[in-house]
């Protein structure tokens, strides 16, 4: 009789996912699936709304990465208002948005490493669950925990200064921005009291990388062999092949590094990408049209970005990029735990970009908005912390949204997350009759490497814990674990 293990993290209202692991009669894993509830209905919700509301409206999607949705929507609407396709904004308009975006990247990557990844690294998958969290890090590695808190705070304050406020920011508007950065704000971020200044943030980002590399040197076998599987990779890159997290062309490489999407304009994304619906998940499965549903899936996010770009246009991150690429002799990296490594290189890159932007006098200029001839349709794509984020809108003659299509980063990573879970499940669950804390955490670690946004939009009291249920093929519960 087959058995099924279900891991079900349930949040209050939506955004929950669960892992189902199917066992055969010998207790060997035959199939694993990650089911994630996404933002069903949001695209329909946008219909009929005035287009200029959208950059604020889309922040309802997610309390974790509202800035990414805000900017992707604004970029799409830039096209509709005739302000160009990512390169038509005024210097202050584009650079303020880049500053906002890198503030978001910096705080998000810092949060992920210090809050989510470092407990796994410091205490291990089999560590005491009571301390395998950021509080445990605070107890035993106070310096790391303080750095995580203050790096996140620094990024959040960049967001507040550029978006106007922390909740439902309004900084990006169709065609530009609604404020520049004052000299006082600039100086606070450049030369603020220790530790909230950019030089300290860069130093701490380097320290986080050194910490990871030190851990990697001692745990190479684990880091190199946890959830490894070949994948294609997709991201935006600048036209010269440089990493560019705010704007670029769409490029993808296959598992061997061969280019399979060759610098496609963002406005043409729907010519190369389609989405498949499967009956066991609310989340769609995007794929490259040219390769079909079986072979066309791809990975996005830090690992993909470092596999796709040719170089990083800031010196400290570029130096780390060269060390990182040498690990795979320049070939694509398919090791899931290297996602953390890649994320930390991006953390350093974002800190460097923030410093460069703060020193740029364009941020104090007053020509905030570009105007042009209005069109009907626009696409905005951005490299969000978790990966490539697509926003696509069409308006009617009354300036109302007629069509909206969003492909969020976590959706792009649907297939690779499923493969990572399946890989780990086979090694952790084969031959087991019950679910242990360590087994559960290995599945979590595989998912966590992708930093998926499972708890979007709402959060309030009453969250339920992670639940693992082992049932047979007839639905009888054989084992159940919750934490």
């Amino acid at each position: 009789m087959g058995r099924k293990i279900t891991i079900e993290p349930v949040t209050r209202v939506e955004g929950h996912g669960k892992v189902t692991i199917q066992l055969d009669d010998s207790n060997n894993v035959t199939q694993s699936r990650l089911h994630v509830v996404e933002f069903r209905g949001f695209e329909k919700f946008c219909q009929g709304r005035p287009y200029w509301e959208v950059p604020v409206l889309v922040q309802r999607l997610c309390g974790i990465c509202p800035v990414s949705h805000h900017l992707a929507a604004a970029k799409a609407l830039d096209v509709i208002v005739g302000a160009g396709t990512g390169e038509g904004l005024t210097p202050v308009g584009e650079k303020m948005r880049r500053l906002m975006h890198h503030g978001q990247m910096f705080q998000s990557h810092a949060l992920h490493f210090f809050h989510l990844a470092s407990p796994d690294l410091l205490f291990g998958a089999d560590g005491d669950p009571a301390i395998r969290n950021v509080i445990g890090v605070a107890l035993e590695h106070k310096d790391l925990a303080v750095q995580g808190v203050m790096m996140r705070k620094y990024g959040q304050e960049i967001i507040a200064a550029t978006a106007g406020k922390k909740v439902h920011g309004t900084g990006a508007i169709p065609g530009g921005i609604n404020k520049n950065l004052s000299i006082a704000e600039r100086d606070t971020f450049l030369k603020g009291a220790d530790p909230l200044n950019i030089d300290k943030m860069i130093a701490w980002a380097q320290g986080a990388l050194d910490f990871f590399k030190g851990y990697y040197a001692k745990n190479k076998d684990f880091i190199d062999n946890f959830a490894v599987f070949p994948s294609s990779h997709l991201s935006l890159v600048r036209k010269d092949g440089a990493m560019d997290l705010y704007h670029g062309v769409i490029r993808a490489v296959d598992a061997d590094g061969k280019r399979i999407v060759n610098d496609v304009d963002c406005q043409d994304y729907s010519k190369i990408i389609a989405e498949e619906v499967r009956n066991w998940s609310y989340m769609k499965f995007p794929y490259l049209r040219a390769l079909g549903t079986e072979k066309g899936w791809y990975t996005v996010g830090p690992l993909a970005r470092l596999n796709v770009c040719e170089f990083i246009p800031t010196p400290l991150a570029q130096k780390e990029f060269e060390i990182y690429k040498a690990l795979t002799n320049g070939k694509p990296n398919h090791m899931s735990m290297h996602m953390h490594y890649a994320r930390l290189i991006e953390l350093l890159h974002s800190a460097e970009v923030i410093k460069d932007l703060l020193n740029d006098p364009d941020l104090q200029k007053d020509n905030l908005v570009t105007k042009g001839t209005k069109g009907k349709e626009g696409v905005g794509i951005i490299e969000a912390p978790r990966g490539t984020l697509f926003h696509h809108y069409r308006i009617n003659d009354n300036d109302q949204i007629e069509m909206a299509n969003l492909i969020v980063s976590t959706t792009n990573n649907n297939e690779p997350m499923n493969r990572a879970v399946n890989y780990v499940a086979k090694s952790a669950f084969n031959g087991k009759k019950e679910v242990t804390e360590g087994m559960m955490n290995r599945v979590e670690m595989a998912i966590r490497a992708y930093d998926p946004c499972l708890s979007c939009a709402t959060h309030a009291l009453g969250q339920m814990p992670l639940e693992v249920t082992l049932v047979d093929s007839e639905g009888t519960i054989l084992d159940q674990k919750r934490k």
């Binding site: 445990g136 925990a145 996140r152 709402t458 009291l461």
Partner: protein
Amino acid sequence: MKDNKVYIYGFGNPGRQDDGLGPAIIDKLESENIPGIITDSNYQLNIEDAHNISQADAVIFVDASLEADEPFSFNRIEPSAEITFTTHTMSPESVLALCKELYDKDMEAYVLAVKGYEWEFAEGLSDQAVYNFKEAYLFLVTKIEEMLHPSRPVAAENMI
């Protein structure tokens, strides 16, 4: 309370109907310029809030809740290291625990949990949540007064 500083922190997403109860209460408080308090709001609690609240002597977290009594519940909380799988957010108790460990601040802390009912992609509170908001706000103002001035009698009309 030596510095008379009470941190009032509302969290939730105003774009998800009643989930915006916490930020709505903060907006109302800020419009009345009550001295001696620090107000803040965000979508969710997170690690940097351990540093933010460390500047105060007491904290009241204000949040929407599915499970609270009507119109609201008010409970003292203690630090707790429990972290859920939902990963990108922290509970008030875990923020307190982080604050205690990193900043050696063991503060008086409460959660004002206001009952909510509707959570769709829309702005504005449901009618029932508006009623709960008013009740919770009156209570909160009274509680703040008590915390800032423990020896001062509270006006009868502010008592629930």
